[in-house]
Symmetry: C2
């Protein structure tokens, strides 16, 4: 085989033929299925030039013209869709303190580069902060709509985080809340969360974020056995009230097919009883405690204070969020909503193209 074609076998080349017969020029979609291709494909002829590698296939004589630059790009390992730990910048609190992607609402709205920087922050670090947004209810939805679509749930299009008389959730009290991810009992889990501050005139009520991918990486390094256990045991999470009954069974640390960390679920409040043998139970709890002890290390907790008009946007598949206790006599009101990473990353990709053309 010509080295110009390494490492691509004939079936790979044919499946990626860019000709108009194989790929709809109107939309880039592949026009054939894998079973439409001969099972006994071979290369009949290969012709190379400076720019192009042309391949003719047996038995049917189909010809594919590849640009060399495209073929070259396919030889380089990439980070896939960028959603696993491999594509992220993992952080501890001191490391991230100087990196916090922050912008005013005005510059976020006016300036493409600023908008791209904020969205890139969510992608790479897992969060970003907007300052000076309108101190008006439902602004959180308007912010989500700048990059996607609020994910409506049984909690509504948005939810209010403030002290309630009969709370169905600890969030609606003045109690401290340890680092956790939201809605682990929901599949698909909301991949993004926004918290918009309307009022925070209390003693306490500081916000905290922990990089769950970093915590998982530390666990893998320090205690690989516990890491293996937490990636291989689905954990039942559930939540219910009079109108909803939600459940999802997923591991605390979810790895992709290649073993890279892709999603974290961590929420003691909604974790249910696991159905395991005694030995499995003991191993699970040892591993769970080891992971929790890492998650709770002070050096991993980045703390900050949301003031009225601030909005934090974060990746709920990666970051854990927390808050300190506050006096219920004071006045604190956040509005939150969920959204999803697909549209945020799509917009970022579009903005990057715009910037490059700029």
């Amino acid at each position: 085989m010509s080295t110009a074609l390494l490492p691509f076998p004939p079936i790979w080349l044919r499946d990626n033929c860019p000709c108009a017969q194989c790929k709809d020029p109107r939309n880039g979609q592949k026009l054939f299925g894998i079973t439409d291709l001969p099972a006994d494909l071979e290369l009949l002829d290969v012709t190379t030039s400076d720019q192009t590698v042309s391949v003719t296939f047996a038995p049917d004589g189909h010809r594919a013209d590849f640009s060399r630059s495209w073929l070259d790009a396919q030889r380089v390992a990439d980070h896939g869709d960028g959603r696993t730990e491999r594509a992220k910048r993992l952080w501890s609190a001191t490391e991230v303190a100087d990196l916090v992607p922050t912008a005013t609402w005005a510059s976020y709205g006016d300036d493409v580069a600023t908008r791209a920087r904020i969205l890139r922050g969510v992608r790479d670090l897992g969060f970003a902060l907007l300052r000076g947004t309108p101190v008006v209810e439902e602004t959180v939805l308007a912010i989500a709509e700048t990059f996607g679509y609020p994910r409506e749930t049984n909690y509504g299009r948005l939810f209010d985080v403030r002290v309630e008389a009969n709370p169905n959730n600890l969030a609606f009290t003045g109690l401290a809340i340890a680092p956790h991810t939201d809605n682990p009992y929901r599949d698909p889990v909301p991949t993004l969360q926004l918290l918009h501050c309307l009022d925070n005139a209390v003693d306490g009520g500081e916000s905290g974020l922990v990089d769950g991918f970093q915590a998982a990486a530390l666990l893998r390094r320090e205690d690989p056995e516990s890491f293996a256990i937490l990636t291989s045991i689905p954990v039942p999470f559930a939540w219910s009230d009079d109108t909803a009954s939600l459940r999802a069974d997923r591991p605390l640390i979810e790895v992709d097919a290649t073993g890279a960390v892709r999603e974290i679920r961590f929420n003691n409040r909604s974790m249910q009883a696991l159905r395991l043998t005694t030995a499995q139970s003991e191993a699970f709890y040892t591993a769970y405690r080891a992971f929790a002890e890492i998650v709770l290390r002070p050096e991993l907790l980045f703390t900050f204070r949301l003031e009225a008009g601030d909005c934090v946007i974060f990746d709920n598949t990666r970051l854990l969020h927390a808050r300190t206790a506050f006096a219920e006599s004071g006045s604190r009101h956040l509005q939150g909503c969920y959204a999803d990473l697909d549209s945020l990353l799509s917009l970022l990709s579009t903005l990057v193209t715009l910037e490059a053309q700029g």
Copy 2:
């Protein structure tokens, strides 16, 4: 250890203590984290009665009272959240032909048992059919809102499936479309799809469904090596136009942490070039072809015709959908939307409780 407590180790018992100090009686949420519990928990005393098992723990003397019936329930293996192949009724075309969960729009709206039967169909078989819905645009959104929330995407709250002059998708032509899942390039993928028929006065244009979990189970039985390859290689899927650029890398067959099939992605149109070694590429394509040949077996394809007023609701993480070609001169118009399984299953659970209360 008392047999009344088998197989539960002390830490499991303590983590599931139902007392008001451990579990908020207002909302059922656990009030402590795993690191709040002593690492050296032991059972100090166990007292059993007909209804209850009471446990006192060392070193802190905390006492937990468990109902025997609750403990008994925890000894029985369950199907977790019911989202994997283990909880489903897998089918071939002839098997499902007599089972199709079907209801009129009127009875679906009026009768709790009918509504539960339809939603149970989506859960267990992967789909259900509503007949006699209003032949009015946007009805598909009203149907989705009976059990959840339409998932808005870059395609809008809903999308029209009809012949277009400049299609950005094969769906908008009269061409046949082979069995596929939608939006594999999106993570989270839409877990439900609805297709509502406003008009189908064409020759052809029949609908088809394939149980992807059944196809995966057949592959595992007939060709376990190919099954292992397809569960372990993330496949890049992508879609883009002027306004969006979406990508997700996920395996064609996704198994959960215990190896049970949980999600299928199958869409030749949006599959991109894989970056693999020659040997991996060859193994992948052999496995992909083997799976495709199973997916395309006529005995797996359940075909039916959507008439005006019909709506099919199906699980896009499990079923593949297809359509036969039709003459573009005829008149065919569907409206589709995406939604998610979390709210559908939550509603079903609530309806089952209602039914039980009679």
